[in-house]
């Protein structure tokens, strides 16, 4: 499958938006991890902005930057949102209420607990009727999500916004499902490159397991292992390098190969 990347976003520790992250990934700037502070979700009305949590704010910040860079209308673009953990804080809070005598489940938290909540807020923020799917694919959420987004882009012959994002889970589940760091990335994929396109991606799926590329510097490789969405870091680095190359990503089962060609 061939798609073109028309817009990108990255938010993670010491990676504040694509222009900054690209400089770090190119080695032009040292990586200085710091708490992630994403821009506010200004697309949402005040009520909704109050109701949504940090996961939704992260997803919306990623989606906004990628769409702005691609020059696409947020209200028109199909979406593929991928996250392993979803809103772990909301789920933990509900589970705590359920296991506490007399505990009450908050109605707002219950509707925020659906895995497609960030996608829902994104469409509310832009009064969008465009379809969005929410995927949850554990450690492989970035790779499975990319495979899905690229297929949708090709088959529907339409731009697709792909957003991958994850946060650590607080509470008891977080003791067994360990995720470090806030991390997310987003791509606007288009079937045919337009002016300003970043690169093309030729994406294939191979049945066997192939060792992942380890071209990332050790610290960033550690970051890539610490958060499911950061599984995209090797691809992001290849894109930032401006060079042709092939990136291997473990998926379930098998391997995804993305051949990157700068535009």
């Amino acid at each position: 499958m061939r798609v073109s990347v028309q817009g990108i976003s990255v938010w993670g520790p010491g990676l504040s938006g694509w222009p900054h992250a690209a400089r770090v990934l190119q080695g032009q700037e040292d990586w200085a991890p710091a708490p992630v502070q994403v821009p506010p979700a200004t697309c949402l009305p005040a009520n909704e902005r109050r109701r949504c949590g940090p996961l939704t704010r992260l997803a919306i910040a990623l989606a906004e930057e990628a769409c702005a860079q691609a020059g696409v209308q947020a209200a028109d673009i199909r979406g593929v949102f991928a996250s392993s953990n979803g809103d772990g804080a909301v789920v933990d809070s509900i589970l705590t209420a359920l296991s506490t005598p007399g505990g009450e489940v908050s109605p707002t938290q219950f509707h925020n607990s659906v895995h497609n909540a960030p996608a829902g807020y994104w469409t509310i923020g832009h009064a969008s009727l465009a379809p969005v799917v929410a995927l949850g694919c554990y450690d492989w959420s970035f790779a499975q999500g990319l495979l899905k987004a690229a297929a949708e882009c090709v088959v529907e012959n339409a731009p697709v916004l792909f957003v991958a994002y994850d946060l650590p889970i607080p509470g008891p589940i977080g003791k067994v499902r360990i995720t470090h760091n806030t991390f997310g990335c987003a791509f606007v994929l288009v079937p045919q490159a337009r002016q300003g396109a970043v690169c093309t991606l030729d994406i294939t799926h191979a049945p066997g397991a192939v060792a992942q590329d380890t071209t990332l510097p050790p610290q960033l490789a550690e970051l890539a292992r610490s958060n499911p969405a950061a599984g995209g870091l090797a691809l992001l680095q290849q894109i930032a390098s401006g060079q042709e190359g092939i990136v291997h990503m473990a998926c379930q089962p098998g391997t995804i190969l993305a051949e990157v060609k700068p535009c």
């Binding site: 659906v114 996608a119 379809p131 799917v133 089962p253």
Partner: protein, 396 residues
């Protein structure tokens, strides 16, 4: 769209195990709803699958055991589904068959049980809690792929109550992109404290068995279940018997509110209209619409408005939630299988528990069984977050 063939399928819900039991219950207008008595919760009625909690999984790692996978495993064993998948596997190869499944809460009941048994000192869940293979959303397709011996790419779709409807669309994208030759599509959702208490907190659980489209309806009955189809290109595999065709779909968002549908029904109308366009059909060519029809005041009013906008009173419609309860993320696949059952047997069921159709409704709501040839069915699913999916199936 080019239709895709359904070459195997099965369904499990409170009304029965498998296609024959489901057909019997639909024709006999026999509901599966019973007073709720689940994990200490006694609010309203539920559509509970008997023996789900004690069913033993077949031939996979024991870590996968949770109520959601137990439902999925029970479904795999019905209607010759697992055998049909094995035939396809021999023909295409295991790595050419994908698994794309929808679930809203996966095995969260296992996490709820773990929270009841936390270590008092460390706050850690008990060691037997296997989060990745139970609560995690990816547990379901990982389990089903292992259970059926499939090695194609797998996907977990979680669009709330539209999850397993939307899974058809994602499966088609992988199939048409050439990533696979066949897909196991469907899903499962299972009773848990979170949905029972959560819907109650929103004031959406009916004290009586749910009565979609009734003037006095007061909410949903929560249900559970699972279902699967095997989807492939028609004619690609000789000997594959076609039990139905999937001919159209529309997907959209409301962009309106997290848990209330858009009263103007713009997203629902867009999804249904797109489904007709992709199927190349006029509104008059549908024989029946299986409504999302949850039994809440706002959903049913919105959906009536949407259906009337596109179809007037020309196409009979009803909700089957009075039989199964609202099976949430599984409702799409369960009602897709109901559509196949109705087309094979030639009937459309009327809503259960209706004393008086909401007088503000304008669409053609059925309240009793209509016996007639049924060739094409539209099946709707809408979910929290404002996610809409409309599918059209055709009989053989």
């Amino acid at each position: 769209m080019k239709p895709l063939a359904i070459t195997a399928g099965t369904v499990l819900s409170a009304i029965g195990r498998g296609l024959a039991a489901t057909e019997d219950a639909l024709l006999a207008r026999r509901s599966g709803l019973t007073p709720c008595d689940f994990a200490g919760i006694k609010t309203g009625y539920v559509g509970c699958v008997p023996q789900a909690g004690t069913h033993v999984l077949e031939g996979v790692a024991p870590g996968f055991t949770c109520r959601n996978n137990q439902l999925a495993d029970m479904a795999c064993a019905q209607d010759g589904f697992a055998q049909a998948v094995q035939s396809a596997r021999q023909f295409y190869g295991a790595y050419r068959i994908a698994v794309v499944l929808g679930t809203s809460t996966s095995g969260i009941l296992s996490a709820e049980d773990a929270y009841e048994a936390l270590d008092p000192v460390t706050g850690a869940p008990p060691p037997e809690f296997d989060q990745a293979h139970t609560q995690d959303l990816f547990s379901l397709p990982r389990f089903v792929a292992a259970r059926l011996g499939l090695e194609g790419p797998i996907l977990s779709v979680s669009n709330a109550c539209a999850s397993s409807s939307r899974a058809f669309v994602d499966a088609r994208h992988w199939l048409e992109a050439g990533l696979c030759d066949a897909v196991v599509v469907g899903g499962a959702d299972s009773l848990c404290r979170m949905t029972l208490r959560g819907f109650a907190a929103l004031g959406l659980v009916s004290a009586e068995p749910t009565r979609p489209c009734d003037a006095q309806r007061t909410g949903i009955s929560v249900g559970e279940g699972a279902g699967f189809v095997l989807l492939e290109r028609e004619g690609a595999r000789s000997g594959a018997e076609v039990m139905g065709r999937w001919v159209g779909y529309g997907v959209s968002s409301d962009g309106h509110h997290m848990s209330s549908p858009d009263p103007l029904a713009r997203g629902a109308v867009a999804a249904m209209r797109e489904a007709l366009e992709r199927a190349g059909l006029d509104a008059s060519q549908l024989d029946y619409i299986n409504l999302h029809g949850t039994g809440t005041v706002v959903n049913d009013a919105m959906e009536d408005h949407a259906v009337h906008t596109l179809f007037g009173r020309s196409v009979p419609c009803s909700s089957t939630k009075g039989w199964t309860g609202h099976t949430l993320g599984a409702s799409g696949i369960i009602e897709a299988m109901f559509a196949l059952v109705m087309m094979r047997a030639g009937f459309a069921p009327g809503c259960l528990n209706v004393q008086q159709i909401d007088p503000t409704f304008n669409s053609h709501v059925l309240t009793d069984t209509l016996h007639k040839p049924v060739q094409r069915v539209m099946s709707n699913a809408f979910g929290f977050g404002g996610t809409n999916c409309s599918l059209i199936f055709e009989g053989v």
